[in-house]
């Protein structure tokens, strides 16, 4: 038996090897072994292709010949020919400097001044009572804004910040409303602290969409969980499984240790629910629901898990917690909740309250884009989701709906 170790180099050098799925194929493309780049794989001697596949679908390969009893290092992402690398770099389309989002969004922050980014803006909301009664946030935000090489920007929110929704506004288009997982500071433990290396919280990544809009995507700062979600959304099943089975995503690491990360735990639970791996969920979902009452997703995940176990009464009880906790942050959670509540209300289970909750959740699910990992919907008013989208889709004249005027994050 021989061992293959992995080294990420070149374009992959900055990636966390725990977040990169790798596989070894023979030249017929049959998979011989698979795992993650941080852990060696044992393998019979022979000639192979070592491959790292990123969630974007991009693959990086290197040929290997593995000798008996030896340890081989597969260097993935490295460019052996620097001139070729340079040529490729030059051939990439350049982003005109005035089109850089980082320039458009350059913040002028001061302790007393809300973040202002010109005509293209972000508005922040907090949730009041009920499922979704969003009001403009009064907090002064000083998020960390990081321009990226491709012209997009990362806006980093600490996990304890009480912002439930960010509306991304582009002139001429309905705003895109993205849910954020907010939490009271005192209820966020350990790793959710604000230090730069912390894996708690989320980043909002803004990039140009193909049709002159801005695309907003939320990413977890827990690198392994974020990569796992991206693999899952890209329908890269083996890769998502490799990560969800890894030590970094174990329940012990995410739920039971001092530096718990319930957001990453929720991500893992969603991936397991997608895969139908009910046995591996154990009491993970119940703990997520009970220990982190600020996390709406805990109720949605636990409700779906119980429903799949055939425990419908208990499932409904968990789902009803969304009435207090609000919309699930992950779109899977919103979908699960609406599907189950639809079943239960059609069968007359639970009386009027589930119907009311379903009505509220449905108004968001109707306009949510379930291709996104985090709940995202369009509309000029986050309390009246999809109004503008409705006007467009029915061909009716697009009216000017009253626009809420938040006092912070005015762009």
């Amino acid at each position: 038996m021989s061992w293959i170790h992995f080294k990420l180099a070149g374009s992959l050098a900055d990636l966390d090897p725990r977040a990169v799925a790798v596989q070894i194929r023979d030249l017929e493309l049959d998979i011989v072994a698979r795992g993650i780049a941080s852990e060696p794989l044992d393998i019979e001697p022979g000639s192979f292709i070592a491959q790292a596949r990123l969630a974007s679908g991009k693959t990086t390969t290197v040929e290997l010949t593995v000798a008996p009893g030896q340890e081989t290092v597969a260097v993935l992402g490295g460019e052996t020919d620097l001139s070729r690398a340079e040529e490729r770099r030059r051939s990439r389309p350049r982003v005109a400097s005035d089109m850089l989002l980082s320039r458009m969004l350059r913040p002028r922050l001061s302790p007393s001044l809300p973040m202002r980014v010109g005509r293209n803006g972000l508005r922040a909301y907090v949730r009041g009572e009920g499922v979704a009664s969003y009001v403009p946030s009064q907090e002064i935000l000083e998020p960390s804004i990081e321009p990226l090489a491709d012209g997009s920007v990362n806006i980093r929110f600490p996990a304890y910040l009480a912002i439930d929704l960010v509306a991304v506004e582009v002139p001429g288009q309905p705003p895109e409303n993205v849910l954020l997982p907010s939490a009271p500071e005192r209820q966020v433990s350990g790793d959710h602290a604000t230090e730069a290396g912390g894996s708690g919280g989320v980043e909002l990544r803004l990039s140009r969409s193909q049709h002159d809009g801005i695309e907003a995507a939320v990413h977890l700062r827990h690198g392994v969980a974020d990569a796992m979600l991206e693999y899952s959304n890209s329908i890269l099943f083996n890769e998502a499984q490799a990560l969800v089975c890894s030590q970094a995503m174990s329940a012990e690491a995410l739920l039971y240790e001092k530096r718990a990360n319930p957001l990453a735990a929720a991500a893992g639970a969603y991936v397991l629910l997608r895969a139908g791996e009910l046995r591996r969920l154990h009491n993970w979902t119940a703990n997520l629901c009970e220990w982190f009452p600020w996390l709406a997703d805990g109720a949605a995940i636990c409700g779906e898990h119980l429903a799949r176990e055939g425990k419908h009464k208990e499932a409904l009880a968990r789902l009803m917690k969304l009435g207090e906790r609000g919309l699930p942050t992950f779109s899977d959670g919103l979908g699960y909740a609406v599907n189950r509540l639809t079943q239960y209300t059609r069968s007359g289970v639970g009386g009027q309250e589930p119907k009311e909750l379903l009505r509220e959740l449905s108004s968001y699910a109707l306009v949510a884009d379930f291709r996104r990992t985090f709940t995202t919907f369009s509309g000029v008013d986050p309390n009246n989701p999809g109004e503008q989208a409705l006007e467009i889709s029915t061909g009716a004249p697009t009216g000017t709906l009253p626009r809420p005027e938040p006092t912070m994050l005015e762009m």
Partner: protein, 398 residues
Amino acid sequence: MAAPPDGMTEPGLLYDSRQSRARPGVHALIVGVSEYPHLPGPEADGEEATLQLRRLTSAARSACSVAEWVLANRARLGQPLASVRLLLAPSDTERRESENLCERAAGAGLDQFLDSVAGWRRDLSLCPESIALFYFAGHGMQGAVADQVLILEDFGSNPEAGSVLRKSVPTSSLIAGLAPTEERPDIARRQWFFFDCCRDTQRTIRKAESADPTTAFGWATSLQDHREVSVFNAAISGARARAYPNDLTVFGKALLDCMNGAAGERREDRSGWHVSTGSLGRALSMIGHKLEQVDPRIKFDVQPRGNLRSSMVLLDGPPHVAVTLTIHPSGAVNSTGLAIYDARGTSVNVAVPLDPNPYACHWPAGAYRVDSEDKTSNACKRGEYEEVLPPHWSWVGP
């Protein structure tokens, strides 16, 4: 009791191989509704009472094509084909094109649909290893709750009688009705749903006091649910499905392309090539994304779930991949030599210098290596073997 082999007793039972019904098999229910008799024609103005909907021209054709594909591939599906039910409401043109299928199909009104879906579920209830395949092409929309509804042939027959959506069926009731219950503990665990219809949201439905659709099945408490339910939608919530004029629906064509190889991948057990629920999801997403670049209204929504490695259809061999080779910068075309090798080291024939540049061709899926040579300096660069998988693959060099 098994239905007679000729399928005459159940309208629309196009194919019946249920002699041993406890054995696993694929049970397909395929529905295509173009001709809605109570709606205006395709070119006419829509009417408010019938939600501005008009007759369609491609839905029944797409359903026929899917049915023909299922029949032609009956021995290569994830399980042997056991039954096909076909419900059609074709336009006159579609009827002329597929006379034989149209004659053997049942109508696609609400009652026929409910009867067929009940028979389909009975067949699926006998063996957990069976596979449910459901395809619907026709009108659809989002219901009053965030629940997609499939609109059947007799929609609009009397718009003032009862709920405006009473001649439609919510997809959630269809999916929930196939869950394992005490009555049906052995129902098929693998279930594939293809909803080739719009999912736009209509203000009148959202505001309506009574817009309840008709559920496909009554409620029954489900047992532990280990189903692998994969849903493939032609549109995201709020968007509309599209069709090529006088041809197939956009989604139907993409689906058939995928099943014919564009979604092919190597099987895990090294026994050849297949289309799995995962590879279909990836390929449909890729094709959908490419189409969306051309027409932003096209937005496929694919949700494969469960073990995504399970086979939908086996392929005879490696599928063909649409390959694009590009020399960049283009001024280097004449001074760049290329040598391409497959996994066995066999040279792949490509006209060098590339003409045209980019150069499009098709290769069987597999591992390939592209070596390049700068003829001005005689410097050679050996490429790495890369996996070349459908639907398309691009190389830019040197």
